[in-house]
């Protein structure tokens, strides 16, 4: 086996170029996903006629069907749909001029929302109802109670789950390549095609992914620690 460290290091630099883009898209997707997912989770926990069953169906569809299929569906329907929508306002846009970045972000965000809705629902189950009552008793509105009391407590469970999701996204974006958005893995594959060094390129990509994760992990650990609220959790024995 011939392994060329130099090629790997060179590739790392090349691959790094895709990091801001990949990272940016993943972050946008995560934020939209969490916000929308929180709404879905609420609707599941406090059912509203008609809307809740629809949400359940949607979540089940998004979670159940493979990402590649979602991308495929979006790739064909989104440009069509939006160009006919824009046509109503007299704007003509060719469907194939439709920016693929929007397809990627839309698809991933909807999928993310479905996933987060379940993560958030689980995290909510960790809340002691007495905490909610405490907020209610001092006259907080639902929103105040959520923001100041419940969400901080939910987050101590949800933060690691969000990190999980974010990391999945960063990698899932390699499929975004299907519609032409170059991510880290794709960048590595281009590099491999030029150098014919597949092993080196994949390892370079792995190291870059890992680096991102390491940085994120550090940030998330900090937040998680903050969310322990002075509990000395010696739960051993």
């Amino acid at each position: 086996m011939n392994f060329d460290i130099q090629v790997m290091i060179d590739t790392i630099w090349v691959v790094m170029r895709a990091v801001p883009r990949t990272f940016g898209i993943a972050a946008v997707v995560l934020v939209i996903g969490i916000l929308l997912g929180a709404v879905f989770a609420q609707l599941k926990m406090k059912p509203v006629p008609v809307i809740t069953p629809l949400v359940r169906l949607f979540v089940s569809y998004m979670r159940g069907v493979p990402l590649i299929v979602h991308l495929f569906v979006m790739m064909y329907s989104l440009p069509q749909a939006s160009s006919s929508l824009l046509a109503i306002f007299g704007v003509t846009v060719q469907p194939h001029d439709f920016p693929s970045l929007i397809i990627v972000i839309t698809t991933f965000s909807l999928l993310e929302a479905a996933i987060e809705s379940e993560n958030i629902r689980g995290a909510f189950q960790s809340i002691d109802p007495r905490q909610i009552e405490a907020g209610q008793s001092i006259g907080m509105t639902r929103r105040q109670n959520l923001r100041r009391i419940i969400i901080p407590q939910v987050l101590s469970v949800a933060i690691p789950l969000f990190l999980n999701a974010f990391l999945k996204n960063i990698k899932g974006l390699s499929l975004a390549f299907t519609v032409g958005v170059v991510d880290i893995l794709a960048q590595a594959r281009y590099a491999a095609a030029l150098s014919y060094r597949y092993l080196e390129s994949y390892i370079a990509a792995a190291l870059v992914y890992w680096l991102i994760c390491g940085v994120l992990q550090m940030i998330f650990n900090r937040v998680e620690l903050k969310l322990q609220f002075g509990e000395t959790r010696r739960q051993g024995v």
Binding site: M1, A193, R197
Partner: protein
Amino acid sequence: SGNGVTEESSAQNEPAAEGETIEVTVAVENASNPLSFTNNDGELDGYEVDVINAINEVIDGYNLTIESVSAEATQVGLDTGKYALIGGGLYKNEEREELYLFPEEHTGVSTIEIYKRADDDSIQTLDDLVGVTVHPVTPNGGIFNLLTSYNEENPDNQIDIQLGEAGNFAQRFQALHDGVSDAVVMPSNLGADDMITDLELNVSTADEPVQVNPTYFVLAQDQEAMKEKLDEAIAQLKEDGTLAELSEKWYGENMFDYELTE
């Protein structure tokens, strides 16, 4: 460095003892019709599969087992010593020659064609691609390299290489047909002609192929011993017309008749 060599393949470095057969694994791609693919009966089939099987019949001292994996996996497996030999319609270039062993004789031919709308005569050579919309190319293929090197050689005359998944072949030609792109650059040995006929597309090749490349099975660098035997076997199959026959079977023509680009 030889430290990554498995017991199995290091055994292969020794010339085979009398009457002893060495087991080696050959990797081919798993979804690359008509080179190698899983057919409707769920069996591995294709030109390269037939060639390997033919080689296995005649090669001395080796027994080849085929494993079908993804395109990327073939090369990683060759790098790490899992496979002694891989297929996938690979052609020769400096970088690959540095990394792998090539047999003396090629076992296939890949013509790279420019596909364009049948009624569009303006596109005939790579030069004509400057300024038109070229369909995105796959990153791990030779086309990407071909176009990149064209651009390097012609700094004032740049082809706009779009990065992105090319989509499957049907999509590429449909896009061409629909006018979304003006040209598709692609090897011809991947079944393009069948499909164009199937879908009744307004697509044809330029008059001349851009390149006609010999393609090879590629050996791991420590397989000197096997290379010798493989060369003998390939030569024999060429001689007795087996390869020409298989080419007829899979491509409807004897591609060994093409004149190779330098």
